[in-house]
């Protein structure tokens, strides 16, 4: 070895926060690891259980004012990349969020304002769905006067009308919307643009408009016999049930489609006691619906008819009597990457049907507001939902997605608009590369089984159709489940680096906080990399010796 070679192999630790998979995958952009950390590390931070839980709630509510709602309905992409998955199951983030959401409602926690000085600009929002309400919330807490218009008598958009009671009780959603109202957001309900308020009035009364109109126009099946009684779109059916005026379906209901609306419609119809068949033209693997929801539908007795497409709706007089179904097989992949279903010649068959619910797809409905936006059916925007200085948009009108995405659209548009109005620099794009693999040491963490929310037995669900299928976990389960978080990429104070450094290179921080339990003293570093290799969460990484 030449002189000095030994020093060349030395490396020093660097304390660098890394993006965790949960946060990277969360549709709303919530700092999942951050709010879990506050509860999991509450003893080190000197917080009582209640204070820690409330603080976690505030961290969630900062970006998502609907934790109790999303805790129930979100397909939780956050859990998909969880580094704990391979050990003993992903952290039950969705169940945790639901507990937090219910906690917030039960404790009567209110949303926090960010800026108290009132701003002169008047903001109008079209559509009181998740995108519009999220936008309204973020603007109102920054001091803007916000008015939200919605043609429906109840706010919430698809959350209100498209999601069955057994998945999301109305009082939960109402409670979370109420908090937004308490910030001073004015909701003008039952006020359709173009019917009750003209586009011109809207323009003169507001400096900036946000379009959160969703995608409410159901696409047709395009088959013979579709027009007439006994056939509904998925959203039509679900919203009439949610309005308390369910249509009479009869004994044999056929639902067409493989998305979440189709599954919700099938499960809701099943709760009337009808036999329900779900028709989907591809296989279960290709179904866009949340897998767990499909499983629940099967448990409840919904029959799946896969590789089956509707050919014709048969009627006797006006009444629907059957649906003729075409068998399909999977061919070459299409533009979406899924294999295209191809008809199998001469394989049509008839299914008895008293009602057909077509839940194939939806698109934005521009009736009455077409003059506001003259682009294509699906809104095209610049980053953060900006169409022009006065017009912004978000939610399903930009493309169908989960509620979390709509909430993020609303928030990001508000942040960018606020920056524009106040002459501040535009927000930066979030980074997306999450810490995984070798940097995380799962065997450091004690084994602990994943909490599962208790579920109502299938028979019970049919007897009381509005009762929630899953319950909220208890406080004890919540407090245990948070301890399962690896805190990927952020120091949680395991103290190993401090304890095992031969050179005393780590010093306890005066004010402990997640990610800031120890400060580095590189002068003392002997370059052995022990701390980096012991660090279970990937917070410490190697850098060449300074």
């Amino acid at each position: 070895m030449k002189t000095g070679t030994f020093e060349q192999v030395l490396a020093q630790p660097a304390q660098a926060e890394q993006l965790p998979p949960c946060g990277a995958n969360c549709a709303t952009g919530t700092d999942v690891r951050g709010w879990i950390a506050v509860v999991a590390q509450r003893h080190k931070l000197g917080l009582t259980d209640a204070d820690a839980i409330s603080q976690a709630w505030r961290m969630v509510a900062d970006v998502n004012p609907f934790p109790a709602t999303l805790g129930r309905i979100c397909p939780h992409p956050c859990e998909a990349g969880c580094n704990r998955e391979g050990k003993d199951g992903a952290v039950a983030i969705n169940a945790l969020e639901r507990f937090l959401g219910d906690w917030g409602l039960r404790q009567g926690l209110s949303l926090e304002r960010m800026e108290s000085d009132p701003k002169p600009e008047r903001i109008g929002v079209v559509g009181a769905g998740p995108a519009g309400l999220s936008f309204a919330y973020q603007m109102a807490r920054r001091g803007y006067r916000v008015t939200v218009y919605d043609g429906e008598p109840k706010p919430g958009g698809m959350l209100q009308h498209g999601i069955p009671e057994y998945r999301l009780p109305e009082e939960v959603l109402t409670g979370e919307i109420q908090r937004i109202r308490e910030l001073g957001v004015e909701l003008r309900l039952g006020t359709a643009i173009g019917r009750d308020v003209s586009v011109d009035e809207l323009r003169t009364q507001h400096d900036v408009l946000f379009l959160g109109i969703g995608a409410q126009r159901a696409q047709r099946l395009g088959v013979e016999g579709e027009d007439g009684p006994g056939v509904w779109s998925g959203t039509e059916y679900l919203s009439s049930v949610n309005r308390g005026a369910p249509p009479a379906l009869g004994d044999d209901v056929v639902v067409v489609g493989g998305g979440n609306t189709a599954i919700d419609a099938a499960r809701t119809a099943r709760r009337t006691g009808a036999r329900v068949t779900l028709l989907y033209r591809r296989t279960r693997q290709e179904m866009p619906a949340i897998a767990a929801e499909v499983e629940e539908a099967l448990v409840e007795g919904v029959t799946l008819a896969l590789l089956a497409a509707p050919l014709r709706i048969e009627r006797t007089g006006e009444a629907v009597t059957a649906i003729t179904v075409q068998r399909m097989e999977l061919g070459e992949p299409d533009a979406s990457g899924r294999r295209r279903p191809v008809a199998v010649a001469g394989s049509a068959y008839e299914l008895p049907a008293s009602a057909v619910i077509a839940a194939v797809s939806q698109e934005p409905d521009w009736e009455g507001i077409g003059s506001l936006y003259t682009g294509p059916t699906w809104v095209k925007t610049q980053p953060w939902g900006r169409i022009d200085e006065q017009l912004w948009a978000g939610g399903d009108a930009l493309g169908l997605g989960i509620a979390g995405i709509a909430i993020a659209h609303g928030r990001r548009a508000a942040e960018a608009l606020h920056a524009q109005l106040r002459g501040q620099p535009a927000p930066a794009a979030p980074s997306r590369a999450a810490v995984t693999g070798k940097a995380i040491k799962p065997d450091y963490y004690a084994a602990c089984a994943r909490t599962e929310a208790p579920a109502l037995p299938a028979a019970q669900r049919l007897v009381s159709p509005e009762t929630e299928v899953h319950a909220t976990i208890g406080e004890a389960e919540f407090l245990e489940e948070v301890t399962r978080c690896f805190s990927c990429g952020l120091c949680f104070g395991c103290e190993q680096c401090f304890m095992y450094c031969n050179g005393k290179g780590f010093v306890r921080a005066e004010h402990a906080a997640p990610g800031a339990y120890f400060t580095l003293q590189l002068d003392a570093c002997e370059g052995c990399r022990k701390c980096i290799e012991l660090c279970p969460c990937g917070f410490l990484s190697a850098q060449p010796l300074a």
Binding site: M1, E495, Q496, M499
Partner: protein, 474 residues
Amino acid sequence: MAFVERTVKEGDNLAAFFEGGEERRLTLTDGSRIAVIGGGPAGTFFTYFLLRLAESIDLDVSVDIYEPRSFAYQGPAGCNHCGGIVSESLVQLLATEGINLPPAVVQRGIESYVLHMDVGTVRIETPLQEKRIAAVFRGNGPRESEPLPVSGSFDGFLLELAASSGARVVRKLVSATSWDTGRPRVTCSDGTSATYDLLAVAAGINSQALQLFQEIAPGYQAPKTLKTFICEFRLPREALDKFIGPSMHVFLLDIPRLEFAALIPKGEFLTLCILGDDVDNALIDTFLSAPEVKACFPDGQVPAPACHCFPRVNVEAAAQLYGDRIVWIGDSGVARLYKDGIGSAYRVAKAAAKTVVHHGISAEDFRQHYGPACGRINSDNTIAKFIFGVSTLIQRVRFLRRGVLRMTANEQQRRAARRHMSTVLWDLFTGSAPYKEVLTRTFHPEFPAMLGWNLLAGNLARRRANGSKGNAHG
């Protein structure tokens, strides 16, 4: 009742029992809980002996060993940092205790050692058959090595042994200790805590754990330590066989601040240990550039080490290493100077275990029954300091080096029955015998005589050789 039976059975302490009164005595009873902080050799030996002794007198106690690290990790993260030399005498001693080192633990049997000095090199064969030594990895081998089986780590093997004796291994890091109505309480970094009847601290000196006791034991003073250096070089097996062989290579080089250095072959690796005064990167580079060292590597090229660390060694015992319900064992208390730390951990751990099971857990019990074992090591260390002083002198003075080299080489050549210098050096560098024995051996009348003769002869021969060389040049 267990106490009375036990005392009578053991046949001692009866007087103390009746005089002191039961309520004043601190002892382990059925259901007592013991916390051991640290799962290295001291902690695991202590646990093993404690549980075995307790069982032999039907005492039902439980032991929690706090060890957050996994010895399945490679590199420094899973290692307790030492040269990894276990003398045959210790191996045999452990075997008599029912602790048999599995073959997977022994990376290499060391059959000879080679002494390198600037004045020459001499190979010393095993003095006696039972004095072979075993080279082990404390953790799961160096960084980027072939993973060892679970039992392949020396410390991992001992921790498993303790667990199989009935101890619970708690994989948590202790972050605080306190007194809970007179009993020691241990709090972990995750906020959980537990109260025990006895706390045994076996936390070593290569962690910051000894800071945790300032409040509950203000009298305890951590041992004085010295920074050493250990690193691992990865070499092809053929190269190791050719250049190193089944030998430990010891270097007595006249490099400022260098006390002692050794190369020890283990599997596909070569472990380098350096002892010295304030070992730093400059000293390491100077050592690695020495021709005597380079000659031990293929093509004279020293590769970059796979891993390294600067472990601290105990050079002066801790003060006040016991109190009521608390005792320090292993490196955090007393340890043998420079060598055979595992052996001294074994001795003190066994003494401490005997004390707590057969006598009691008060400061007085430890003073009477544990203190003497520590004292023996301490006084041997005093002798050691003298011996190492002489060794340093030899290292620094060229003519002494020649004498030692010649005497040793002659002993090895003649296969003499009495190999005074060889045995002294072997024991000194392997730690196979107490330092007192090493010193005693030098008192043998033949030793100074032989050394004197070799000093003369070695340096005379050298002068002649130099003289003739000088003439040739002139």
